[in-house]
Symmetry: C2
Subunit: 398 residues, 2 copies
Amino acid sequence: MKRDITILGSTGSIGTQTLEVISELESSRDHEFNVIALACGSNLQLLDEQVGRFEPELVCVKNEELQGKALTQLPDSTRVLSGPDGLKEIAALPATDLLVNALVGFIGLEPTLAGIRAGKKILLANKESLVVGGELVERELEKGSATILPIDSEHNAIFQALQAGQSDEVKRLIITASGGPFLDTPIEEIADATPEEALNHPNWDMGNRITCDSATMVNKGLEVIEAHWLFGLPYERIDAVIHPQSFVHSLVEYRDGSIIAEMGDPDMRVPIQYTLTYPDRYPNDYHKSTLAEVRRLDFRELEEERYPAFKAVVEAGEAGGNRPAAVNGADEALIKLFLDEKIRFGDIATGLNLILDAVSPVEEPTLKDLRETDEWARNSVNRFYEEGKIGFPRGEEL
Amino acid sequence: MKRDITILGSTGSIGTQTLEVISELESSRDHEFNVIALACGSNLQLLDEQVGRFEPELVCVKNEELQGKALTQLPDSTRVLSGPDGLKEIAALPATDLLVNALVGFIGLEPTLAGIRAGKKILLANKESLVVGGELVERELEKGSATILPIDSEHNAIFQALQAGQSDEVKRLIITASGGPFLDTPIEEIADATPEEALNHPNWDMGNRITCDSATMVNKGLEVIEAHWLFGLPYERIDAVIHPQSFVHSLVEYRDGSIIAEMGDPDMRVPIQYTLTYPDRYPNDYHKSTLAEVRRLDFRELEEERYPAFKAVVEAGEAGGNRPAAVNGADEALIKLFLDEKIRFGDIATGLNLILDAVSPVEEPTLKDLRETDEWARNSVNRFYEEGKIGFPRGEEL
């Protein structure tokens, strides 16, 4: 079976790893996988290499200026689109069998909706599609034949573990969390952690926002929201547990007492490959540790006092409407302030709670509502900072 | 859906737990599960209670003497059979939907074969059916529509984990082993361990043979053989790993790098219930620990020097034919001698290797061949003891 693949976000971490997996699969599978379209932001140099290697018919770049540059650099046979409209067009491309959405941020939501309307099988790594747009995505999915396969290692693990039972037999989803760099830090010291300390992630090599989110555990809160929309379970049946080794990627507890887990070395290529080949599993030669090599798997309760931002995000998910959009937008703005050393680490959680208190609730939000909430939240965070509601006490800046 | 159940070995550990599970299910499921026949050995008192509680139409006891006693004790409406022929008849009972074979020992093989010929769904806890009779069982299964669901927690875990993939995608089965009481004993001291030390099993409450087998790790060798026949994998793709907490019941490693595990508190009622309700999972209120309560899962390589008997049993499985029957019979006789303080703990492995050297190989053995091998092995073990090939050096008995 030949599969035509479109990748949105091809030059990012998940995008490049997806192309790496496709390269490996191609070498053993005789061109079963065929890349037909790529979308990226502004990394034209890497896009150029990818076009040379995979020969897609179509690419999309961030804006018209980059489109002009791309047209001169890329082969004449490559069609070049740009901007959000280009992304939507490329997401709905009739020839696409598998749509990989590895875009980072709010910009990924519209292409997901376009892909769903076009009935695509969507391999989803874009968090915002579900965190911010969960209600919209669910509404669109109900109308048609599109499906979503989660790439994220936690949700991919749950997706695999769910094959051992039926959905009404699930008691709880259990999402594992590394605990981040402050797992053993005395709680009273965490609020004053520096960016350098927060960016020191033990197991996964990720971008700055994600790494910072795994220090605050905002990422787990967002994953709880994603799991809610992906698997249709109420929030009280989605738990997170600290597992410092990140070897167990997540678990499903069934109502008979059996817990099914998916585990393995932390390597995003494995879940990426699984979504590409699903329902089949193909071999690969990625490094695989044995259990005897791993030796020990630890689990601890997630302490809410240690991770107050986690609690704020899950509360936003439970409250629903435009609130997840608010905390998601706010979180990005808060991390920027934190990395710029304008606010303390502890201000991230404070800021999220301030945003939840301040947001004007919109139930069943439209895309426009969500975009406005996102923008409002970012601006509000900066206003909180200007007003001194978050940040170092005057005179105590770093 | 109503399910008529026959239980062979109803007064043993698995048998009584099966009836306990059925009681629990009945209370919530409005007589969906109906016990129609029970077979036991000689525990007439418990059988009497079970008949009073579950009202089976038919029972089977060990021999004609007990049959006579049972006829006077049990209600007139209960038919009473006896002996191996009674077991075979009861195993093939036309009305049976689920045949639970929880017999202990060689005597369980013939009823399994009878159940297969009658096209039954067999919930199998009898080790010998596969360890000794694997080839016969496989031949019979190929002819008809019967199926086997493993009750044993390790194989039940693998059976569950196999639902997350296809059989040709399996790289390895990984059977967990508690390591038994000698996990941390200096290797050179193990051979001289006492029966009291060997019977001190940390996690599961089991009978004497099974507990002793988990100290020598013969049980894991036998489970490797069972897994070979149940799941059709070659021996080099079935591993055992030490996992002292017995929380992970076993795992399947797929060729893409994903490892799927089934875990939970060590409680045989969970796999028993799963085989009874399969493919569904019903709720229960058995105690369930959380991962945070378990805190820590350890894994270590199984050291063959520590567990020489394990190696002997797996070698018997690999060699096939009547050799597994030889080591299985020999093991029982060796354990008896050990518990009678006639031989040393280390002599169990020595005896198994002596048996493997001495056995006259029979490929594609018949039931008669297997029975003869079993008897020969038991006698040979006692001869080895008489000849001083195993046992305490003269003058050094305990």
